[in-house]
Symmetry: C2
Subunit: 380 residues, 2 copies
């Protein structure tokens, strides 16, 4: 146990906002966090125990970074998994397991995995290029997704009808049947190295209509206890089938007939769990640390209803940040800022988030909308 | 407003656990925190934006550290206030105000201040040396306190009767009438630079019988709403009379006839406010930042009842830390560790704390006692 307290070295691939909040949590356990990220101005650069600038997809960069760590984890899944496997062979603990990262990195393999494991998901067809879409016009409307490298709204294209096919991707990907969902839900679930599994209560996501990014999140989701249980159980089944250690974010569709379908998963802390810092007994960040370090998992229950408002860079503004409405927002009860330390803004860039808490769910939603209208990330 | 977001420089005199938790909060606002502390291994050393090793009572050390900061604050009151005054004269914002620090640094001036401002406190007599105590045997039993340099249980001596006088301090100090109190309470109160004042609900402190250190804390205190209101109002009066900006911890005695007396004050974040991180809408650390940076103060209400258990170094153990019972404690619902990153333990050293939360106050107290009996800070 003393390892946690004395110069324990945790290495994290990626130094964005997720790594930043993980560091804040790691300080509570006195864990040294070492970060590698391609950008020298990454949000973790100034607060990590050590910061290495390096390409996460480069074998040598990842291997050399990880070999001095006790445990290596990720905060982004686009990393060199061969290096992670070699580190594991040499005795470094690597969580999540590299094979889980590989499966998730490629949406084609991910979707196939759901099918093989009887995990409910929308119907899909694997395609290799744009031309192949033309063979499946009866499958439209559909969503064309790139197999690899899709992220934060990129690599996703809606193909409503034949005339949209030209917008499709000309690389290996898939066509997903368009789901006319009622709500988008997310469940964060953790599994520790001893096999213990715990899920956070489902949250409800509201996406930005253009940017395909989460704009609001409400916890708990406004769904029946039965649907809630169903979503939690599904997330627990997914992490168990994936066979990974650490945190898994499971994004889901709730259809109008009460079906819950897995949309996408991410094997790490996630935007849909930010509000756990203020709203739940244990935060997703502490839960991830507990999971990968073999500690008992924490209780995930909601202590107070919460909403999360993503602070996206305002359209029409690029450059050095200026925040509008900070004081007005801070004067509102239960408003908690998380600024990510990014120097420059650009349209739809994730610059921070605000968690709003309120015992009254109706008041909470009103407050979240009000805060969203007050706070703007602009440039000078 | 952009100052908060772009390379805003906050300097803190002292780099202990209070500074450490302040940094964790400052990360949320993207504030760079620069620390000066005499110990190169201070709890803030590895997580501050910059860390300077220096004597906090040395004029040059404090002045040179502060002159490049936008705002300077403290996490310990034993600092060179002349340097702070010069910094203020040169345009650096210094909160709390150096005059407030000076008044509080000397318990003789502090007590006289209460008397002059009609702030209820126990009767006292200023004394210059041990011999003078003999002139006041009719005032015994009393507590002999050093005017300066008392801290964490040092500089305090109970003089029950004439035979104890030899144990008294032979330096300027005071005799305080021994108060046969029912409870010890604490209220943390903040005033921002715009004059806004907000108090946290009173907490109840349980001291270690030997070490004169807080061993447990319960929030809220088990007192009537009237006493609670009285204690809050008293704390608000004190910060107003002190005329300071920032956070003030007001320790109080509740007597058996319902009187609330001010015992001691500290112009900074305080051990009696640790539980606000998990238990209250705003934490004392964020509240301090809001106060000294001119932001609106946050709401202080209790979100969930909480207890704080100080993790003091176990008697009989000195050296490199080993934590006993960490996993058992973590498996208990609502248990949150805060380890301070101190490499070596010694008897009664503050090595960390645990916050326990529970909606049920009875269950909360049982849980806190259980955790206390499970977790031990020992050495290898």
């Amino acid at each position: 146990m003393e390892k946690f307290y004395q110069q324990f070295k945790l290495g994290v691939l990626g130094g964005g906002q997720l790594g930043r909040m993980l560091i804040q949590s790691a300080i509570d356990f006195n864990i040294d966090v070492h970060i590698i990220d391609p950008s020298p101005n990454a949000p973790c650069a100034n607060i990590a125990t050590s910061f290495t600038t390096g390409d996460l997809q480069d074998f040598d960069a990842v291997y050399n970074f990880g070999k001095n760590c006790d445990v290596v984890t990720i905060e982004i899944e686009k990393v060199n998994t061969e290096a992670l496997k070699k580190l594991r062979d040499e005795g470094v603990q690597v969580f999540p397991e590299p094979e889980a990262i590989e499966m998730i990195q490629d949406k084609r393999i991910q979707k196939t995995f759901y099918k093989e494991n009887n995990i409910p998901t929308s119907p899909f067809i694997l395609i290799d290029n744009k031309d192949e879409i033309k063979n499946h016009t009866d499958f439209l409307p559909a969503v064309n997704k790139l197999g690899k490298d899709g992220y934060d709204g990129r690599g996703v294209q809606v193909i409503k009808s034949e005339s949209d096919i030209e917008k499709g991707f000309d690389r290996p990907g898939l066509l997903e049947k368009f789901v006319d969902f009622e709500k988008e839900l997310a469940v964060i679930v953790a599994k520790n190295s001893k096999g213990e599994i715990k899920a956070f209560p489902p949250v409800e996501l509201v996406f930005h209509p253009e940017a395909n990014l989460v704009e609001y999140l409400f916890s708990p989701a406004d769904i029946s206890p039965e649907i809630s249980k169903k979503a939690e159980k599904l997330a627990m089944k997914v992490i168990d089938k994936v066979g990974m250690t650490g945190l898994l974010a499971v994004e889901m569709f709730l259809t109008s007939d009460g079906e819950v379908l897995v949309n996408e998963i991410a094997p790490r802390t996630h935007n849909s769990g930010h509000q756990t810092i203020e709203g739940n007994t244990v935060s997703q960040y502490e839960q991830h640390l507990r999971a990968i370090l073999g500690m008992p998992l924490g209780d995930t229950d909601i202590r107070i209803p919460s909403a999360m408002v993503n602070l996206l860079g305002e359209e029409g503004y690029t450059g050095e940040v200026e925040i509008e409405g900070l004081d007005d927002a801070l004067a509102t009860k239960g408003v908690h800022f998380h600024l990510y330390g990014k120097k420059d803004t650009k349209p739809f860039r994730k610059m921070g988030h605000i968690t709003v808490t309120d015992v009254d769910i109706k008041a909470l939603k009103d407050k979240a909308l009000k805060i969203k209208s007050i706070v703007k990330i602009k440039s000078k």
